[in-house]
Symmetry: C2
């Protein structure tokens, strides 16, 4: 019933109604799976749900290759790892670049979505697969936001959670820098109000500019400076008598490469949609505020941050850990790399993931505590 | 001979030859002055040169109103405070928006300049005023870069220096984020290759976008979040069914206001020119590298940074202080405000400035040590 090991597959989940009340008809969620499902799909089992970041896809064994696989921290000989592509993305799940049931591409007809909408869609996806409960949900950055929402939207269906490099809500600074990225896309003349698909034009310049800004929030200034400093790009002179776009510092060339790479693999409208979802990330909304929402959490949750993260500074993870109703553990990645450390500091992440798995064996999930002690304990 | 107290005046300094060999003909430097010059203009005197930041002007008694004036830390009853407008700016000094001697506006004919070019121009300006030596040079951010260059280009003519919130060279991250700002201006169709003056169009949209990004590097995320969090702008709903540019979070409105305000007072080409000068900031260039340049410094210099500065992180000021040949003192501003703390944390800056002035009375300048002990001591 599950997709073949590591193969992309798609599950139709019907209509999704967004938090703001719009309908996304005939939604599909793409996913990949590694390892065999063991145990009761609606009870104790070995499913680990991995949530990707903003421009990620369902191929977690690729982008987290040092974490997922036989013998690795998320050992696919032991665990059934499932990774979906988020609602609104462009790697198989329904998003603004997908075909609309009435014809053409969704484009500007695709509504604004929230992190909660993504989680509801993923929940519906698991339901279609007959999976009613998972051992753990794990994710960083936008994946961490989804993981946090999982613990609050479906606490009975996630036994444990590991939340990496994210905050309990968007900060004003994040909204500011993310809006700068959205604006750089929507002010590209090729944007055409979001309906550029099929016109032969696409806002690649705007998307590349957005990515260049974003990349500077993903990578710590220490790491970028160690690599490039003020070096000139080979064969170019950035110190000439006039400023010229083709006479660059090495870091400019690097950032332009990052921007261009993204335009070759990602859709601008999806980038806007997912970035807007991050702007709207707020686990306190409709739950009596941030700290009340955190305090209400029953799922044993481990929180991880990066000491040099400027996008989701470590104090934001400390804030979550102080207020969380069921804190499993807290860890800090120490790295010059900044936000992306959870993706690239393989040695430290290996320790953290193994520690998390170990804790999930040692500490009973919330519902077992509840059944032993009654509601009092939670 | 000096301009009347607080009045804008302009001094012609002739041709400036840039570091890359271009000539800026008929250059003028604008300035303001507060307090009477006392002492020997070419010897011991009471002149304090204040250097403004990127989009600042010569009206230091306005933008640093709590620091400069009678009875204040930079007491104009005691000191003659002089503040020039930087070469390349648009507040009276020659820059790309100024008239070209051959007619029209400089526009794209204005060459790339460096921090050193600004300091050479300022030195020529003082020379025209008959001032051959100053008690101190003080500046933050781009003004701090100029202050550092003063201590290396004209060590015999600056007795003391106070360098705030800057680094010894541009970091790769700074070059990246500053280039994002330059690009947002030069990719505005109204830019017209830098020759938009007199066309009835100007790249205001690009300049505003640049400022919105820049502002997020000037203001700490703690301060911005304390003020705005995820609040909606009054009367707007940023959580509606579709993303709309006119339904904003409060922080978006705030940043748009910051961007718009700058377009009303600053020229886009000057912004590009000064930002490019910051990209080229490197006191090690042609001096055997960064640490050799710092070690060669003889001017007693105080270094100040801000604990939450993401644009010029505090470790960059620590780096200067570790390597500086003649460190006078080191201070840290503690503030949620980030980089701009040196402009807005008035109480802490008052302490720092008074401490600096006191130290300049207690510690002899480098040339006095040299004359007493010979070259050995320096």
């Amino acid at each position: 019933m599950l997709a073949p090991e590591g193969q992309l597959a798609t599950v139709a989940i019907g209509d999704v109604v967004t938090e703001a009340g719009e309908v996304i008809a005939d939604t599909r969620i793409a996913y990949r799976r590694w390892g065999a499902l063991q145990g009761d799909p609606n009870g104790v089992n070995n499913v680990i749900l991995v949530e990707h970041a903003l421009t990620g896809d369902s191929d977690a064994a690729d982008w987290w290759s040092e974490a997922i696989g036989p013998g690795k921290a998320l050992d696919t000989d032991e665990w059934c790892v499932i990774c979906t592509n988020a609602l609104g993305s462009c790697y198989g799940s329904t998003g603004p670049a997908s075909e609309h049931p009435d014809g053409g591409v969704w484009g500007s007809r695709f509504p604004a979505i929230t992190i909660r909408d993504m989680v509801h869609a993923e929940h519906a996806f698991l339901d279609r697969l007959g999976i009613g409960r998972v051992h753990a949900v794990i994710g960083g950055s936008m994946g961490g936001a989804r993981t946090l929402e999982w613990t609050l939207l479906y606490p009975e269906q996630a036994d444990y959670a590991l939340v990496l490099a994210v905050s309990a809500r968007a900060s004003a600074w994040q909204i500011g820098i993310q809006t700068a990225q959205i604006t750089s896309i929507t002010q590209d003349p090729a944007w055409q109000g979001g309906d550029y698909h099929g016109t032969g034009q696409s806002p690649d310049a705007g998307l590349a500019a957005a990515r260049r800004i974003a990349h500077l929030t993903y990578r710590g200034e220490l790491e970028i400076d160690e690599r490039f400093g003020t070096s000139a790009q080979t064969g170019e002179n950035p110190l000439g008598p006039f400023r010229q776009d083709d006479q660059r510092f090495a870091v400019q060339s690097y950032l332009e490469h990052q921007g261009k790479k993204l335009t070759e693999r990602f859709d601008a409208a999806c980038y806007v949609t997912l970035t807007e979802a991050l702007n709207r990330h707020d686990i306190g909304r409709g739950r009596g505020g941030l700290n009340k929402a955190l305090a209400s959490s029953t799922v044993p949750t481990m929180i991880v941050g990066v000491d040099t993260d400027i996008l989701y500074p470590y104090h934001q993870q400390e804030h979550i850990s102080r207020n969380l109703g069921n804190l499993l553990a807290m860890s800090k990645l120490s790295s010059p790399v900044g936000h992306d450390a959870f993706l690239v500091e393989a040695r430290q992440m290996d320790r953290i993931l193994r520690n998390f798995i170990k804790l999930t064996h040692e500490i009973p999930p919330a519902r077992e505590i509840a059944s032993r002690y009654g509601d009092y304990a939670i």
